[in-house]
Amino acid sequence: MRIALFVTCLADTLFPGVGKATTALLERLGHDVTFPQAQTCCGQMHVNTGYLQQALPLVRRYVEVFEDCEVIVAPSGSCTGSVRHQHAMVARRYGDEALARRAEAVAARTYELSELLTDVLGVEDVGAYYPHRVTYHPTCHSLRLLGVGDRPLRLLRRVAGLDLAVLPDAETCCGFGGTFAVKNPDVSTAMLADKMRSVLATGAEVCTAGDSSCLMHIGGGLSRLRAGPRTVHLAEILGSTRDQP
């Protein structure tokens, strides 16, 4: 299958390993990965901060860039959530019904990574090898906006060598919330403290999730405290093999 990668601006700029791992994983499974180079950002940060008008050109860009693609994958629950639940709303708010329709059509073909693997490609065992103790944090947007359910866990359970630890209070928000982390830094940090406590209680070396943004927050806190565990995106775990760890 020909799959277009929407790498997301955050992974592109700060976590390129996530994009490389997604590419390697899908190619290993026998698919063609394309990277439309005119892509930039889904506009989620603008929308969630209230700057919907500024997000409008970004919605239009996303639609134009990916309209001709059969299937689109993003290694992010919240960016996929924005494409699926916000793009058409933004277009309608500014009276562009035609764009809203097009946005809905593209959104219907845009998948978060674990959805793509399990629902579209029909695989759970992706042939990965990752010999570490890992705990999984279900990010709010993948959990509640997309409803990915246990798809990421089903994928992780099939990874050779991986020792999966259950995260206590897993479904509680980590406190990232986009600009919330800087507009309400104290509350965000208080939520982070509890999430870190849960991660530490598992004894895992690695905390994984489907969103680089939440991982940047959790990982930034763990790193500041020299707490030990590190954060690794789900794509990087699924992308790892014995030959290419």
């Binding site: 790498v7 592109d12 008008q53 500024q54 919330f180």
Partner: protein, 488 residues
């Protein structure tokens, strides 16, 4: 885009819909209170577990939620009609209906009614709406003493405190604190009072019983008002509400106009949704329903005050009006990770938590409660829990947008609006975007051992508690181009 100017909002200077500090500042102080944090974490996790258990046992819970949502949406679409029908029915059954534009008018009305009844004291129950309008203060100014009779409201009143939860207004207090308040403030409290729940309730019972028997006027709120029959309804756990609703000669009910429901049969839906969502009970212990005046039984004079106080302004916003669907169950507070850590006082309004963050700014005008729509990480737990399916995260985003748009109309620039405009300009072009990425890589010089410990404002708010990642030497798109060329 429609604008919402011109609709009267809740007037300033009266009532409790506005805080004195923005949320982030008030929250910082609350977060430093270890006792509060522990009380809240214990209380909310207990209620959460109870709610999850009783909701989980209903196979048709999702259908009930959808029914609740649909009834509310239909009511709001014809609110004018249902309110007039309610007025007709209440009047036909011997009650008197008063319309109050706002807090000032409602307080004047109620104070007048109490004075006319010749009372200097009133008992009150289930009346968060009267707290919204600051009725107790207005009564006090007229020389009338109001006694709160719901246990938690009593604790708040005796503690000279503010409520911090819709359903459990004293959730921020633990047993030991309540005992101290009773000993200090209850005339004739037994000095040997312990902090055992049974002892505390017995003390409150003795204290309240005298007031119930003496009161000539009762003041209440209402959970529902049935338009087709003119019936008012209050659900509660203690029975104090029922005494307040049945013992006095005169009953005055103050109700927000959004509480009307069209049909008697609609109660079937809400009386299932409400107790399970709020206290985690299959059924609440007391449901009191009354229709007008019944000669020889209960209050012989009944006044219904229908309060607007910004609700019509909320109704005028086709997205925002969903906030008026709220049945005040408080499930969204109990599941909210922000509320659980800050408590209710940080929101500065009688309506705290997620629903408060979308309701208070609409009642007062967004600019006057501008920090509240941002008091959420948009995690969506509230939407998932809400028994009438209010999409609170989308409402929060909508109100943020209203705030940004209103500021733009008034041409108030802010560092944020400049940053956002610049970011959108950059992101709208792949060329500018790539250039900005390269500029950002200059940030590599800040890094040590793969992490950045300090960034300049506004990102210093990030590095106050979290390391930031060092930008990699090569972005993904540069890697792609190097490895695979410019073809897709």
């Amino acid at each position: 885009m429609s604008t919402y100017l011109g609709m009267p909002t809740a007037p300033p200077g009266v009532g409790h819909l506005r805080g004195t500090q923005p949320f982030d500042i008030a929250a910082r102080r609350a977060l430093g209170n270890s006792q509060l944090r522990r009380n809240l974490a214990n209380a909310t996790s207990t209620i959460r577990a109870r709610r999850a258990a009783v909701v989980g046992e209903l196979p048709d819970w999702e259908a009930l939620r959808e029914a609740g949502r649909a009834i509310k949406a239909e009511t709001m679409a014809h609110l004018d009609r249902y309110l007039e029908q309610l007025e007709e029915q209440v009047t036909a059954r011997g009650g008197t209906v008063h319309w109050a534009r706002d807090a000032i008018e409602a307080n004047r009305l109620v104070t007048g009614l109490v004075t006319d009844a010749g009372a200097r004291e009133v008992v009150k129950s289930k009346s968060i709406t009267t707290d919204e309008i600051g009725l107790n203060e207005a009564l006090a100014a007229a020389g009338i003493t109001a006694h709160e009779t719901d246990l938690a409201e009593l604790i708040v009143q005796l503690g000279h405190d503010r409520p911090s939860h819709i359903l459990v207004p004293a959730i921020h207090r633990n047993r030991a604190e309540i005992r101290d308040i009773f000993l200090r403030e209850m005339p004739g409290a037994d000095p040997g009072l312990t902090d055992a729940p049974a002892d505390l309730t017995a003390a409150a019972r003795t204290h309240l019983r005298q007031r119930f028997l003496a009161a000539r006027v009762g003041i209440s709120g209402a959970n529902f008002a049935v338009a087709e029959t003119g019936t008012l309804g209050v659900v509660e756990s203690e029975g104090n509400g029922r005494m307040c609703l049945t013992l006095p000669e005169t009953l005055i009910t103050v109700m927000g106009i959004e509480k009307v429901i069209p049909r008697w049969q609609d109660l079937e839906v809400f009386l299932q949704l409400l107790p399970r969502s709020s206290t985690g009970e299959r059924m609440n212990p007391y449901t009191t329903l009354w229709t007008g005046v019944t000669p020889g039984d209960g209050p012989q004079r009944f006044h219904l005050v229908l309060l607007d106080n910004g609700r019509t302004a909320a109704l005028a916003d086709q997205v925002g009006r969903q906030a008026l669907h709220c049945i005040r169950c408080s499930a969204c507070l109990n599941v909210c990770p922000v509320y659980e850590r800050t408590g209710g006082h940080a929101y500065g309004s009688v309506y705290p938590g997620p629903i408060g963050a979308v309701l208070s700014p609409q009642l007062t005008g967004v600019e006057e409660n501008a920090s509240l729509p941002y008091a959420s990480s948009l995690c969506g737990a509230c939407y998932q829990a809400c028994p009438v399916k209010i999409d609170i995260p989308s409402l929060l985003v909508h109100l943020r947008a209203r705030h940004v748009e209103e500021r733009r109309q008034r041409r108030v620039p802010s560092p944020e609006s400049v940053t956002m405009a610049a970011a959108a300009w950059v992101m709208a072009s792949p060329g500018r975007y790539a250039a900005a990425q390269r500029a950002g890589q200059a940030g590599r010089v800040l890094g040590r051992d793969g992490r950045i410990r300090r960034l300049p404002p506004p990102l210093s708010a990030w590095t106050s508690a979290r390391d930031a990642p060092v930008p990699p030497p090569e972005t993904f798109r540069d890697w792609w181009r190097r490895e695979r060329g410019t073809a897709q």
